[in-house]
Amino acid sequence: MESVLEIQERQKNLSVVPAAVQSSLSNNFVPVSDNHKIVARDINAYFGKVQALRNVSLSIPENSVVAIIGPSGCGKSTFLRSINRMHEIIPGSRITGSLTLDRKDIYQMDAVMVRKRIGMVFQKPNPFPTMSIFDNVAAGLKMNGMRKKARLKEVVEKSLRQAALWDEVKDSLSKSGISLSGGQQQRLCIARTLAVSPEVILMDEPASALDPISTSKIEELIYELKKQYTIVIVTHNMQQAARVSDFTAFFYLGSLIEYDETKTMFTSPRLKRTEDYITGRFG
């Protein structure tokens, strides 16, 4: 684990927070604001009798990257999955509180619609094993009933370019998706998510199963994608959170402990517990 000083050093070279966001947040950061893209209030989530989230309230500004950090089992994935209503597909699960996307209640919308607007990338790359690279990227569109070959081709190429994979696979689009390396598979999954043109992308430890080079590719990608999308990323890796995110939320035992600009969070966290976690004293 790097020391705080090293992280601070890194922070100096860090991506610039968008000007609009910066001005609104530089000093008095508001953790829950109705102006944000996604607003969660008093979220409690359960697996049967186990409560995984306790009164979590936070909001996610448009076109920013929010990192969620915290020790294993603290509810990071659960929070992510409650945003696009993936939590409810687990038998026995339950959720209370309010979640809005552009001020509309997510839990009043059609779940299928929600998941099209809020895409998800998982921890382990999970391309459809029976499908070619092309079909993997086109899968979401085909589910939406898109049949026009030319349009499909266009979207597949655009998505693969966005995911920085096009140059590597353009000559082998008909090969199986699982013939790619782990890092390429994960970028394929990102392309697959982009093809549905979501507004928000949720990433659950997208690089934790990958080697350092693939990891840095994914991080660069996140930096590019933030111009067009709102991104929430769960990560185990402090440096990664510091590198890619504008805001960081620290979860512990199902509760949101601290949520702030990433810069502030990593240089002068308000709470002792946050500092201990960030500096690697526990977790």
Binding site: M86, I89, R115, G119, P127, M143, R192, T193, V196
Partner: protein, 352 residues
């Protein structure tokens, strides 16, 4: 117990005792081998024959291997036995046994084709009915049913497999055959008056009855194996589909596509079961070796013919032809089963 028996047993025990004494007083080498002073040599020797395993493991391993080989040899022996016992028929008819169309014990003219036809067609009929049903059940159990419903329903479908086939046969005679004769077959003939498949007087004991009975019997195989195959598809795949905004139906389709070779295996295993099934079919199929397009006419299957005619086989040639029939059934079922198993294993292993 008679005196003679007691005497026999005591003599047997005596021989064992003598053997034991012989071992104890065996040649010097062996005695040395077990002496404490030679401990190093002994352990080196043991190591050489045992490797790093202990003696119990070795014995257990060898014993299980022996039984496995024995089972395999038994199968080979059965095949060879059938082959040698059907030589009379094989020499007389040659390939004609498989391609001519009459099975006539009085004229001593035998061909397996009508029975092969009956076996295949009745089994295919069974699949036509059981595949859609069985797969629906499997999909419901694996993908849709809540946990509290899945267990009892799975149990019930598997219970179908435990009912003895003669019970199915009786049910066929008392319920199925009258129903087919009075309701289904007249209906089919009304709907398709010109179809070659529904010609002849509705009699009830016919190919259709055989197919329907078989379909009920293979349903649990198809549904339970397909359910296992579907369940072996890992959740991340389902989540990938959900995450793209797939509906429940689209997710199920995705899972199904990924499990298709295993499901094909399940269907073929069901087919294998149908091909080998004897009792229930014999009781309702009408037992007449003929090749007709109509499924409303009696037919005969290989297994059925064997069960029916073995006691009547009056000549050596007749008997030999029946045994050749058995050999054909044996080969067909083995090939079907190997093929299906490979498919099922292939899919289940892919996710490990």
């Amino acid at each position: 117990m008679t005196n003679a028996k007691v005497f026999q047993i005591s003599r047997f025990l005596k021989t064992i005792e003598v053997e034991l004494v012989n071992i104890r007083e065996s040649p010097a080498e062996i005695q040395n081998f077990f002496k404490k002073s030679d401990e190093k040599k002994r352990s080196r020797f043991l190591k050489k024959i045992l490797g790093d395993k202990n003696l119990g493991d070795i014995v257990f391993e060898r014993l299980t291997l022996l039984f496995a080989v024995l089972v395999f040899l038994l199968v080979l022996f059965m095949a060879w036995e059938m082959y040698s016992n059907s030589e009379l028929s094989i020499n007389k008819f040659g390939w004609k046994f498989l391609i001519t169309t009459t099975w006539d014990p009085y004229a001593e003219n035998f061909s397996a084709l009508p029975m092969i036809f009956g076996t295949i067609v009745s089994s295919l009929l069974a699949l036509i009915i059981a595949v859609p049903l069985g797969l629906s059940v499997a999909i419901f159990l694996a993908e849709l049913a809540p946990a509290w419903l899945e267990k009892p329903l799975s149990f019930l479908t598997e219970l179908l497999a435990a009912i003895p086939s003669v019970v199915y046969g009786l049910w066929g005679i008392f319920v199925l055959v009258p129903w087919l004769r009075d309701v289904v077959e007249p209906f089919l003939q009304n709907q398709f008056p010109n179809s070659p498949f529904f010609q002849g007087a509705p009699y009830g004991y016919d190919m259709l009855a055989g197919g329907v009975i078989l379909s009920i019997m293979v349903l649990p195989i198809i549904s339970s194996i397909s359910r296992d195959v579907l369940k072996s598809v890992p959740d991340p795949l389902r989540e990938a589909a959900y995450g793209l905004g797939a509906t429940k139906w689209e997710v199920t389709k995705t899972v199904f596509t990924n499990a298709r070779s295993g499901i094909l295996g399940a269907i073929i295993l069901g087919f294998g079961r149908a091909v080998g099934e004897t009792m229930a079919v014999v009781m309702v199929i009408g037992s007449r070796p003929q090749i007709t397009a109509s499924i409303l006419k009696p037919a005969s299957t290989i297994a059925g013919a064997l069960a029916n005619e073995f006691s009547e086989a009056s000549s050596d040639l007749y008997l030999s032809a029946l045994i050749e029939l058995a050999l054909i059934l044996f080969v067909i079922t083995i090939i079907i089963n190997i093929f299906a198993r490979l498919l099922v294993w292939g899919t289940e292993r892919r996710w490990k």
